[in-house]
């Protein structure tokens, strides 16, 4: 139970650190910065786990776990809360296509938009073409695609990712 409590508390501290970082820092590679904060925080989390009382000074004996099992469980929950929680929240808020459409409609004076208005007004007026260009730039900057003689070509990393996506899509019978 100590692992769960520390993971929850640690995750809140991490959220505060992320908020300060995103509000203060002017970095282009924000996902990398968030991941660095998480990686740096991991040994701190483990140290806090190891150097605090097994019962945290308040848990009944029946809720005290073994040191190894408790620490591994705590790290698993702490990592999941960051990778599946805060990092995904950031990705959705920063890149979510559907969410951007919902926000655009909510901020429109009529609180409703035609498909043409959505098309032109996407991303606070940047339009859908900007969104497509942003995705292409992202694939290049993340090393999945390189520009070769004026053509976009997958790198070996991109080929591996594409192969994985194709296999998963076929197995799940996802429509093209």
């Amino acid at each position: 139970m100590k692992g769960l409590l520390l993971a929850a508390a640690g995750s809140l501290v991490l959220a505060a650190a992320i908020t300060v970082l995103l509000r203060r820092a002017r970095t282009e590679r924000r996902v990398d910065a968030l991941l660095r904060v998480f990686v740096v925080s991991l040994p701190v989390f483990v140290a806090v786990y190891l150097f605090t009382p097994a019962d945290l000074g308040m848990l009944p004996a029946s809720l005290v776990d073994g040191r190894l099992a408790g620490a591994l469980y705590g790290v698993a929950i702490y990592a999941a809360l960051f990778l599946g929680g805060w990092l995904q929240l950031y990705n959705l808020a920063e890149r979510g296509f559907s969410l951007r459409i919902l926000i655009d409609i909510d901020e429109h004076p009529a609180r409703a938009m035609t498909p043409t208005e959505v098309l032109r007004g996407y991303g606070a007026g940047r339009g859908i073409d900007w969104m497509v260009a942003k995705r292409v730039d992202g694939l290049v900057s993340e090393g999945f695609v390189q520009l070769h003689a004026g053509r976009l070509v997958p790198t070996s990393r991109g080929q591996r990712a594409a192969s994985l996506f194709a296999t998963a899509r076929a197995a799940l019978r996802l429509p093209a």
Binding site: D65, G70, A80, L172
Partner: protein, 166 residues
């Protein structure tokens, strides 16, 4: 040697998570699933219930059983984004397009595969089906669920100073 209750609950949670993912591939691969998100949520809910039943049967106490269920919830929040990257990400689809084109594609040719009007029409329809939008004459408007979602994320964007994004 007997394992302590938290270790038993955690191992059972891993097993039930693996079962939920296997069932996801089996269900989607073998049958036609209309409401895919709901089906995936139900599979993980079933895994959490399976965890509870197994832990009770193995004599694990309530607190550790809850810990196991939390672990399954964490697996769910990790698995869902992975699934949506494979299923719906534009970047993933672009990568597949490029990998399937010998010699790659020019930027214009790639962009040409994503006609803006079709992209928007498709996504608006998906959002209507999911209950975030409703048709209002020739326009679309937010439902109550859509308003809550839009404002919650607008708040996050302001708090983290993310700009327009999208």
């Amino acid at each position: 040697m007997s394992l302590e209750p938290l270790a038993v609950a955690s191992l059972m949670a891993l097993a039930w998570t693996a079962a939920a993912i296997a069932a996801h591939f089996a269900l989607f691969g073998l049958g036609r699933v209309e409401r895919r998100s709901r089906a995936l949520v139900l599979l993980f809910v079933a895994a959490a219930l399976g965890e509870a039943v197994t832990c009770v049967a193995l004599g694990v106490d309530g607190a550790r059983t809850l810990c196991g269920m939390v672990l399954i919830a964490c697996a769910f929040i990790l698995y869902m984004p992975l699934y949506y990257t494979v299923a719906a990400s534009f970047s993933a689809r672009m990568l597949l397009d490029l990998a399937g084109a010998p010699g790659g594609l020019s930027r214009e040719a790639l962009a040409g595969r994503y006609p803006a009007a079709a992209i928007v029409a498709g996504r608006l329809e998906t959002l209507c089906r999911a209950g975030y939008l409703k048709h209002a004459d020739s326009a679309v408007a937010l439902t109550a669920k859509g308003v809550v979602t839009a404002r919650a994320f607008a708040l996050v964007k302001r708090a983290w100073r993310l700009g327009a994004g999208g």
